[in-house]
Symmetry: C2
Subunit: 322 residues, 2 copies
C-alpha cells in the first residue's frame, strides 16, 4: 500500500469499528440499549444532547465493577500476603496491631474500626504501615511481583482472568466515541496503576485511588518519594467526586460502580444530566451473587434513574476467553 | 480536495511543522540548542536517549515561568480584589484577619506567617476564607469574571498579554513531539484552570495546583462541591513532586520553573535523567529584572546542570504581538 492509502485506512478505522456491534458480549437488553442510546445522543452534533469531546468524561470504579472483588479485594490479599511475609521474618510484629489481627485472622478488629468510622486508621494500618519507608519504586516492584504471581483463590486465574469482558468493551466503546475514561478506585491508586495499563489500556494518570502521604528525600543525588504511614486521601464515598474535581476539574457525564462506596460518584454524573450504571452481582454460577454494601445504591438507582446491569441476565460472557 | 488528500495533509502536518524552526521567538543561544538537542534525543528511536511517547511527561510552573508574576501574583490580586469588595459590603470584616491586614495594606502580617512557615494558615486565609461556602461553579464564575476584567497594573494588558511567547512555543514544540504537558502551580489549581485552556491550550486535567478542601452536598437534587476554609494541598516546594506522583504516577523528563518553590520539581526531572530549565528574569526593559526567591535554585542549577534561560539574552520577543 502507498502512504496515502495507509493514512486513509488508519483515519477511517474508528468509523468502521462503530458500524459493527461495539458491545458483543452483551445481550440485547435494556442496559445495553440505554448505553448505546446515551452515547449516540452525546455524540450527535447539533442535537440537544450533544456534548463536546473534551467534556466526555467517564469515571469507573474498579472492584466489583471492572474486576472480581470476592471473596476479598485483590489489593487487600496483597497487603495480607506482605504482612504475613513480614511476620515470618520478624515474629515480634504479631504483638501489635494490625499484625496481630492479621496473624489471628481476626477480621473483627478491622470491622470494629469500620463501624467506628475510623477509616484513617484502617487505611494507615493496611496501606501505610506494611509499606512504610519504601520508595515509590520499591512499592511498585512489590506490587508488580504480587500481581504477576497472583492466583485467585477460587477461580484459579491471574488478574487477567478477573476482569469483566463486557466492561472492557464498554471502555473501548466510550474511547472510540472520544470519551476520556478514568478509574476512581478505593484501592490504593499506586497499586491499581501497576495493573491498569495491561488490563484496561489506561495510563497511570487515568487511574486514581486512595493515597498515602509520601515525603521527598534526595539521597545520593537520587530524588525519592518515601512512603509514610499516613493516609492522604480516602477515595471512597464523597472522596470520589472530591478527587474527580481536584484531578479532572470537570463533572463526569458517565459513571459506573457497584456498591455504596460509589454512590456519590454515581450521583455526581446522574444528577448532573449524565448517565450512571450500577453493576449488580446476580450470577452465582459464572461469578458471585451478592447484595452486600448495596443498600444505599439500589434505592438511589431506582430514585435517580441509574441503569442497573444484571450480570446474569445482561452479559453473554463475563470473563475473557471463558 | 478529495477525502484521501485531506487525511494525508492532516496526518502530515506535525511532520511539516517540525521541519521549520519550532522556537522562532528564541535567539540561537545555548538554552535553545540544549532544548532542541534534548527533544531530538528522546524522540530518536533506537538511540540510548530514546523515551517512549507515553513517558514524555513535561511539568511547568506558571507564575514567573509562563506568565508575569510581578508586581504580585495575578491570583493574589484577584483574592485581594474580592476581599476588598467583601469589606465594602460588610465593613465589620475589617475587625479580623486576614481582612484587617488587607484593608491596612499590612503585608507584614502575611510575611510573618511566611517566616513562621505557617503556610496552612496563609493558604486557608487567602484561598479558603474569601471563597468559603461557594460551590465550585460559583467560584469558577467569580474567577472567569475577574480574569475577563483584569488589567495588569503596570503593563496595562489583560492576562493574554502576560504570557511568555517563547514558552508557549516551547509547550507546542513538546506537544508536537508527543510530550504530555502539565502545569503545576502554587496558585490554586481551580483558579488557573479557568485561564489555561485559552492561554496555553491545556485542559483542566493538565493544570494542577494548591487546593482547598471541598465538601459534598446534594441540594435540591443537585450534587455540589462546597468550598471550606481548609487547605487540602499546598503545591509548592516538595508538594509539587508529591502531587505529580499522585496525579501522573510518572517522573517528568522535562521540568520548567523560575524560583525556590520549583526546586524540588526541577530536581525531580534533572536528577532522574531528564532536563530542567530555569527562567531567569533579567530584562528590566521588556519585563521585570529580579533575583528574589532564587537563592536556592541558582546554585542547584549550576550543581545539577539545569539549563538557565536568560530572558534578556535568550528571547527575541517576550509577549505575543509586542
Amino acid at each position: 500500500m502507498g502512504m496515502t492509502t495507509v493514512f486513509f485506512l488508519t483515519a477511517a478505522l474508528p468509523q468502521l469499528a462503530r458500524a459493527g456491534d461495539p458491545l458483543p458480549s452483551w445481550n440485547e437488553v435494556a442496559s445495553k440499549k440505554a448505553i448505546v442510546a446515551f452515547v449516540s445522543g452525546v455524540t450527535k452534533e447539533g442535537s440537544s444532547t450533544y456534548v463536546a469531546p473534551e467534556d466526555r468524561i467517564a469515571t469507573f470504579d474498579n472492584d466489583g465493577t471492572l474486576w472480581v472483588e470476592k471473596p476479598l479485594y485483590t489489593h487487600l490479599l496483597g497487603v495480607f500476603q506482605r504482612m504475613k511475609a513480614q511476620m515470618a521474618a520478624d515474629p515480634s510484629l504479631k504483638d501489635r496491631e494490625p499484625y496481630r489481627a492479621v496473624a489471628a485472622n481476626d477480621m473483627s478488629y478491622f470491622m470494629n474500626l469500620y463501624e467506628d468510622a475510623a477509616f484513617a486508621t484502617i487505611v494507615s494500618q493496611l496501606m501505610g504501615v506494611p509499606f512504610g519507608g519504601m520508595t515509590s519504586e520499591q512499592y511498585d516492584a512489590w506490587g508488580r511481583e504480587f500481581l504477576s504471581e497472583f492466583k485467585h483463590p477460587k477461580l484459579k486465574v491471574g488478574v487477567e482472568g478477573l476482569i469483566y469482558k463486557p466492561m472492557i468493551e464498554l471502555i473501548r466503546y466510550l474511547e472510540q466515541n472520544d470519551f476520556t475514561v478514568y478509574i476512581f478506585t478505593a484501592d490504593e491508586g499506586a497499586f491499581l496503576r501497576l495493573a491498569a495499563t495491561n488490563l484496561y489500556g489506561l495510563p497511570p494518570s487515568q487511574v486514581l485511588g486512595t493515597s498515602i502521604r509520601s515525603e521527598w528525600v534526595v539521597e545520593n543525588e537520587k530524588p525519592l518519594l518515601v512512603r509514610t504511614y499516613r493516609m492522604q486521601h480516602l477515595n471512597n464515598w464523597d472522596g470520589k467526586p472530591r478527587l474527580i474535581q481536584q484531578v479532572i476539574g470537570k463533572r463526569p457525564i458517565f459513571a459506573a460502580g457497584n456498591s455504596n462506596g460509589d454512590q456519590h460518584m454515581l450521583q455526581y454524573a446522574a444528577l448532573s444530566g449524565g448517565m450512571s450504571v450500577l453493576v449488580h452481582h446476580t450470577d452465582d454460577k459464572r461469578e458471585f451473587a451478592y447484595t452486600s454494601h448495596t443498600d444505599k445504591v439500589m434505592p438511589l438507582a431506582q430514585k435517580e434513574g441509574w441503569t442497573v446491569i444484571d450480570m446474569k441476565r445482561d452479559w453473554k460472557a463475563i470473563f475473557p476467553g471463558r
